[in-house]
């Protein structure tokens, strides 16, 4: 009697597994795309979203051969809202992957429920030092960079150009602190002043008069999105560009900011892991298709969104669609078998990238557009400073 029952349930279970397996290959891959789509940081989220959706569209609305379902949510750049939205995506929508978060303070709030539910997070932007170091997690992959990286490259550029007295401005939140740490790691001169305005502050009258008083010979700003737009406009309007040279990471020197500020940005140096003029087939296709689809040049955020989608695509493909097999998915993600638009890309032990960082300068191109030109490599095959403290489970 007992054995009969057991046999029956084994058969049932086997049928169930078979059904589940067959359902898996036609079931959509669900992506929880949680990003900042309102407020001063909205331009960043929109670019990541557009890049991500473009990659999925070019793959025939599929990821790894399975239909893709992208569920989009807005975190309003707030950790509370982000956390609630992440809970909803994970518990109600039961997404297979999470991606899209722009700001690191939101990322740190979203990470906890995501990792707890064993959902893979593929970052298309935020790369907080916490997740690269002692809080590194098997479920977190950065398809962008570690927060310090672009600032490390910028520190190197400012150092090489021989500036001796640099004022630093970055918002008071995790990535802002990473930015200053990263910049100082490679810039060895004097710091004339260090200012941490509130995240999403828009009026920089106070900072600008302090800059004037600091007598710095250069200013380094990490002010992404609307913050950078306002700062650069006000910096130029106050006449400070006559006295000091402005440096920025790609975050304050890409298409979104250039479009809003215009020609006064000509000649500004910035650093990035990518440029729209990079000469590789994957990038040429991406830039051409992006311009065709959206009628504008892509920014580094769009490139990161595109790459994140390609990485997920590769992971679904190489794990043969068995997304419940976490070890297999993780292995496929780690292998990173996709053609990144930035050229060479591989993962470090902490699942953050090892890649090259470039200097770019804002110029007028042959078509008369104000845009970036990639100048040269600043850091080659560069990882991050936190990997040593990461005890990643195998």
């Amino acid at each position: 009697m007992f054995s009969k029952f057991l046999r029956k349930s084994i058969v049932c279970a086997a049928v169930g597994v078979a059904l589940a397996a067959s359902a898996q290959s036609t079931d959509p891959v669900k992506i929880g795309f949680l990003s900042t789509l309102s407020g001063p940081g909205a331009g960043l989220g929109v670019d990541i979203r557009d890049g991500f959706q473009l990659a999925v569209k070019l793959a025939g609305n599929k990821l790894g051969g399975r239909p893709a379902e992208i569920i989009i949510a807005d975190d309003q750049a707030s950790p509370d809202v982000g956390r609630q939205a992440a809970d909803r995506l994970i518990k109600r929508d039961k997404v297979d992957f999470m991606t899209g978060v722009v700001f690191s303070n939101v990322m740190l709030a979203v990470g906890t429920p995501t990792f707890a539910s064993q959902t893979f997070y593929v970052s298309a932007n935020a790369g907080p030092s916490q997740y690269a170091g002692d809080q590194c997690n098997p479920y977190f992959f950065s398809a962008s960079w570690q927060n310090d990286n672009l600032h490390e490259a910028a520190g190197q550029v400012v150092q090489e150009k021989g500036f001796k007295r640099v004022a630093v401005i970055a918002p008071n939140y995790p990535a802002g602190k990473d930015a200053i740490t990263g910049f100082k790691r490679f810039y060895k001169g004097e710091i004339a002043s260090e200012t941490l305005p509130a995240l999403n502050q828009l009026n920089y009258g106070t900072e600008i008069s302090q800059l004037r008083a600091s007598k710095a010979d250069a200013v380094y700003i990490f002010l992404p999105g609307g913050m950078g737009i306002n700062f650069i406009k006000q910096f130029v309007a106050a006449g400070l560009s006559k006295d000091m040279t402005l440096f920025a990471p790609g975050f304050s020197g890409d298409e979104d900011v250039i479009k809003a500020v215009g020609e006064s940005m000509l000649g500004m140096f910035n650093t990035s892991q990518w440029g729209h003029d990079m000469n590789n087939p994957a990038n040429k296709r991406f830039v051409a298709e992006f311009e065709k689809e959206y009628g504008r040049l892509p920014s580094l955020y769009a490139a990161q969104g595109y790459d994140a989608a390609l990485l997920i695509n590769a992971a679904v493909r190489d794990s043969k669609g068995k997304l419940s097999d976490k070890a297999a998915v993780r292995k496929a993600l780690q292998a990173a078998k996709f053609d990144s638009v930035r050229g060479s890309f591989k993962f470090n032990k902490n699942q953050f990238p090892i890649q090259d960082y470039y200097m770019r300068v804002i110029v007028k191109d042959a078509k008369g557009r104000v845009t970036n030109r990639t100048m040269g490599t600043v850091l080659k095959n560069h990882g991050d400073a936190y990997v040593a403290s990461c005890k990643m489970p195998a």
Binding site: A42, T195, L196, G205, R212, A213, A238, G239
Partner: protein, 308 residues
């Protein structure tokens, strides 16, 4: 002139600029509160709608000045429409109903703007002619648009002073603020007066939107944060008093700006930049409320009380 003097002067100008913009918002608010005894939380929405109209018209015509002109007129029309259609019904109600009703309007305005313009900020740039710096004296450049803002703020304040003290309309407004029932008994067409005051308040909001839009950002919810400060201004100045709103706005503007500049400098002397960055803005933002508490302690009706 040494750098420290330049820093002080620049901050004084920044404070003046912020104060004058606060005055534009507070003037309408204090009149509506004083004359109609109406708490209007949707006042910030008029500012937002004005800024969006200006940004859209500027984008459509390619000319900031057309945008400013028609945007301000649009904001006034929107304000008048709101008064005639909805707010008029709130005058006889108690303050709680007014707060709830106008809060609902605020939410509807936010969502309406989101529907029409989307949730991303809308671009509004300073006009080309005012986008550069001006040299005030050797070694000191100041943004020409900021000077323009100060000029417009002073001009509007003068104009209001003239209207309030020298015209028949102004007399009616003053009478209404001092004693509404008596003004009505003396034959003032209150309904028309209220609509006009409301439209004028909305137009001032529109002007503030056009001035601050290019400096800050034209986005959903831009009215709320500044509305709270505007309320502080009218409470400090005395409800219903334009003179009070003017001086209150300048006080608040200058103290707020000074706090935001010098608190971090002071704190940076005492602790690490990171700790200072956390502590200083918190302390600086409390300053205007401290000012309000101090004023109310000595003058519970504000600096220039109107009601007899």
């Amino acid at each position: 002139m040494s750098l420290n003097h330049i820093l002080l002067l620049e901050q004084a100008l920044n404070g003046l600029q912020f104060g004058l913009m606060l005055f534009l918002l507070a003037a309408g608010l204090t009149l509506v509160f004083g004359i109609m005894d109406m708490i209007n939380l949707a006042h910030g929405s008029l500012y937002m709608v004005g800024a969006y109209l200006i940004a859209s018209i500027t984008a459509a015509t390619g000319n900031y000045w057309w945008g400013l002109l028609f945007g301000v007129m649009g904001a006034a029309a929107f304000g008048a429409l709101l008064e005639v259609s909805v707010l008029r019904r709130f005058y006889q109600r108690d303050h709680l109903s007014q707060v709830l009703g106008t809060f609902a309007i605020l939410l509807m305005c936010n969502e309406g703007v989101r529907l029409i313009w989307g949730s991303q900020p809308v671009a509004l740039s300073t006009p080309e002619s005012l986008s550069g710096p001006v040299q005030i004296f050797s070694g000191f450049y100041y943004a020409s648009f900021s000077l323009f803002i100060i000029g417009v703020g002073l001009l509007v304040a003068l104009l209001m002073y003239w209207v309030i003290t020298r015209t028949r309309l102004g007399m009616q407004v003053r009478a209404g603020a001092a004693n509404r029932e008596m003004a009505m008994a003396m034959g003032v067409d209150v309904q028309k007066l209220f609509t006009m005051v409301f439209a004028a308040g909305a137009a001032l909001c529109g002007v503030a939107g056009g001035m601050l839009g290019p400096v800050m950002a034209v986005q959903v919810g831009m009215g709320e944060s500044i509305l709270i400060v505007a309320f502080v201004v009218i409470v400090i100045g005395g409800i219903g008093s334009i003179r009070g709103a003017f001086l209150g706005a300048l006080f608040v503007g200058i103290i707020d700006t000074a706090g935001r500049t010098f608190m971090p400098m002071l704190f940076a002397q005492l602790m690490s930049p990171e700790a200072a960055a956390n502590a200083a803005p918190a302390v600086a933002s409390v300053l205007i409320y401290l000012l309000m508490a101090t004023v109310l302690f000595f003058k519970p009706r504000g600096l220039f009380p109107v009601h007899g």
